[in-house]
Structures are given as structure tokens and as C-alpha cells.
Symmetry: C2
Subunit: 169 residues, 2 copies
């Protein structure tokens, strides 16, 4: 018995995106309760040269849908990265989950050995599918979920580690 | 073809711990270059009720070694969480990697179905081994690596996303 490529990607991403949706819900409620402008949170960042909260959500969306597209060959929807409200960010997450849920276990056949090459200008890493998922896609995905959480904590929003881990109780 | 429980845990954790070691090395070099006290970075945090950098390293160590212990049954070393210098944190990482590298693929036989119960007081989640790894251990591990990175960025240390992702070039 072992883990399929689908098992280590789709449900893991869907679960993380639902955690992110929950974190955003708590952030929006916090802004409303404090009569503050939602944009102050949506544009918050941890360093001048880091991405703001909105872009952490966009990158979590992209990392999950593009990695599943690369591994499965099922085309992912394209989004314009123009979300500026909590409602729009929630829609982005919902649309991403809808795509992920549409990809079947069988679409991942042979994905472990698939050659994947990324292009970030001077940085063009090449991977086998399994290495891509385990050493790039998953770490990258969790980076953006954790950093979204960290931005909210840094801004004083009452969320915590258990919100990040998700409810089990 | 598919992924073994060992493949989705041990090398993923080892790789993440090496990334963390590299981040700490850059943080130490930055403190030296700026004539600042290393402890200012080691005790830095993103929110008053979040853990400082040193504890992010300790929790990344614990999350990796304890999850491998729970899945494989191979006892992990215990550490006292008393590291206060970069050298001690690097040793903690090295000792954790040495344990992880000592656990064999065969030690994970049957780990997918192993019952795992955690005890955090009122929070006592129960899992099958595969769910534990994918929905708790891996997200928790990457949280601490990403948050260590985020703390350093927030403190102005010149590290970046590529340091977190690790070198492929």
C-alpha cells in the first residue's frame, strides 16, 4: 500500500485552500468588528519586498492549480490576479477548488515520471513529476498558506495555529 | 507506481531542514556583518503571541522527528529546547537529520494504516497514518520553515523565496 500522486496533491491542496478561506473569513470579520478598512489587511505584508495578503492567496491558488495541471495534463482555469476584496479572494479560492475537484485520480497516471520544466527567467528548474510535487509544489503551496496566516497574526487578527492546521475536533 | 510513506516524509523533512539551516546561516552572517547581537534575530517573532525564531527551529525539528517516530516506531532522540545560539540551533538541525536518515524505508511498513492519536490537552486529534502525514505533519512542518523565513524577512535579513525553495540551479 502506498500513496498515489493524486492523494498527495489534490486533497492536500483542497484542504489547505479551505483553511485559507477560513482564515480570510476571520480576517474579514475582524475588520468589520473593528470598523477598519478591509484593504488594510488585504494589502498587508511582512516586508517591503514581500507579497501582500491578496497575492499570497493568488499564489496559493496558482501553485495548486498549475501543479495539478502540469502533473495531470488537465488544463487549469486562468485568473487575472485582480482580486481586491475578501469576496473576490473567496471566489478565487472557490474557483480553484472547483478545478482541483474536477481532476480525477486516473488523470494522474504516469505523473510520477513526467518531465516538468519551470521557467522563472534565469531560474529554470527541471524535475521528475514526483520530485516536483514533493520538493517544489507542496513546499511552495504551504509557504503561501503559512505566510497568509503570519501576515494576519502580524496584523493582530485573532487567528492561531489551530486555524492553520484546520479543525479535527 | 506510487509514493511510499517514507518517500513523502523522510527526504521531504531532511530537505526542509537543510533549507532552514541555510536560512539560519544567512541570518548569522547578516548579524555579524551589521555588528548586531545574534539574539535579536534568534528571539524575533511576528506577533507577541507567536513563537520566536529559535522555537520555530525547535518545532520544525520536533514535527519531523516525532512524526517519523509515530509512523515508523523508531524512537527519536529527545532534545531539551534549550538552544540559544545559531551554533546550537544548527546542531539541533544536524541531530534531527541524523535521526531521520537512520530510519529505513522498511521501518515504514504498514504505516499508512497505523492509528495515531495526539494529545494537546483539549485538542486530541486521531488519524490514520496517511492522513496524519498529509493533513497534519507536513502542513505543520512547512509552517515552521516558512515562518522562520518570514521572521527573517520581517527583520530585514536578505533572504528570499528561492532560499526557502532551495537551490535547483
Amino acid at each position: 500500500m502506498s500513496l498515489s500522486m493524486h492523494r498527495v496533491s489534490v486533497p492536500v491542496f483542497v484542504r489547505g485552500l479551505k483553511v485559507l478561506s477560513d482564515l480570510l473569513g476571520k480576517a474579514e470579520a475582524y475588520a468589520e468588528q473593528h470598523g477598519s478598512v478591509p484593504d488594510a489587511l488585504i494589502s498587508a505584508r511582512l516586508a517591503d519586498d514581500m507579497l501582500p495578503l491578496s497575492a499570497q492567496v493568488q499564489r496559493a491558488s496558482d501553485t495548486s492549480k498549475l501543479s495539478v495541471e502540469r502533473l495531470s495534463g488537465v488544463p487549469a482555469p486562468k485568473f487575472e490576479d485582480n482580486e481586491t476584496s475578501f469576496a473576490q479572494l473567496q471566489q478565487r479560492i472557490a474557483d480553484t477548488i472547483a478545478y482541483l475537484d474536477s481532476v480525477a485520480e486516473s488523470d494522474f497516471a504516469g505523473s510520477e515520471a513526467r518531465a516538468i520544466k519551470l521557467n522563472f527567467g534565469s531560474f529554470q528548474p527541471e524535475f521528475k513529476g514526483d520530485d516536483y510535487l514533493l520538493t517544489f509544489a507542496l513546499p511552495n503551496f504551504f509557504f503561501h498558506i503559512a505566510t497568509a496566516h503570519d501576515i494576519l497574526r502580524n496584523q493582530g487578527v485573532p487567528v492561531g495555529k489551530r486555524d492553520y492546521l484546520g479543525a479535527y475536533a
